[in-house]
């Protein structure tokens, strides 16, 4: 069974802390994505990666960075957490093969910044 896992389901951090959210996929997918989900706004793309050590900004990259040192792992970093980064964070992966375009999602990390 294909799987995307995220390191934490729930996380509480303080303003100014550096926060790491980890995502691992076991499907050998080239593409990986980080989204945040907020009520009434749907999913918004933060960063994505189409290969190891490659990264591209999504629609809302400000305040975030990412790291992809290995194919299966994609990390989201909040350099200095702020209260407006309280949200649900979803990781996804996909294959670039035509016809296999759907993204597979992890269970999400609900981050609260106090």
């Amino acid at each position: 069974d294909v799987k995307v896992t995220q390191s934490s389901r729930y996380l509480v951090k303080r303003t100014g802390e550096k926060v790491f959210l980890e995502c691992v996929q076991d499907m050998d997918h080239e593409n990986m994505f980080w989204y945040r989900q907020d009520p009434g706004l749907g999913l918004r793309l933060i960063y994505f990666s189409y290969d190891v050590k490659m990264k591209e900004k999504g629609d809302i990259p400000e305040g975030y960075s990412v790291s992809r040192e290995k194919k299966e792992r994609f990390s989201l970093i909040l350099e200095s957490a702020s209260t407006n980064q309280t949200s649900m964070y979803l990781c996804a992966s996909s294959s670039p093969t035509p016809g296999m375009n759907e993204q597979f999602f992890g269970p999400g990390t609900r981050l609260t910044v106090l």
Partner: protein
């Protein structure tokens, strides 16, 4: 650029009644279309997708959707809903060439009551 509109933020329906969740998109190029479902406290799961071919697409859990190019719509339907269908549903679109960046709608919460 692509965009997706889900006009209904919430759809209440009684068990065993039919339901339609609306999705309209805008794009200047040909697209692929997806519906995802998110059950409470879970990640997103693919319901169905349209890549090409027949405009009527059948998915999991008895859902189906019809691609209408002239109306730029991809509405999701189910003839008889169950309590267990209570969830949030997201429509998504991406170009059928190039990198696989998905654009999501804001979601529709389906509330099924007995």
């Amino acid at each position: 650029a692509q965009s997706v509109t889900q006009l209904d933020s919430q759809v209440p329906v009684f068990e065993e009644a039919p339901v339609e969740l609306r999705c309209n998109y805008s794009s200047s190029v040909s697209v692929y279309l997806f519906w995802y479902v998110q059950y409470p406290n879970q990640g997103l799961q693919l319901l169905l997708k349209y890549l090409s071919g027949s405009t009527l697409v059948k998915g999991i859990n008895g859902f189906e959707a019809e691609f209408n190019k002239s109306q730029t719509s991809f509405h999701l339907r189910k003839p008889s809903v169950h309590i267990s269908d209570t969830a949030e549903y997201f429509c998504a679109v991406r170009m059928n060439t190039g990198f696989q960046k998905l654009v999501f709608g804001t979601g529709t919460r389906l509330l099924v009551s007995p």
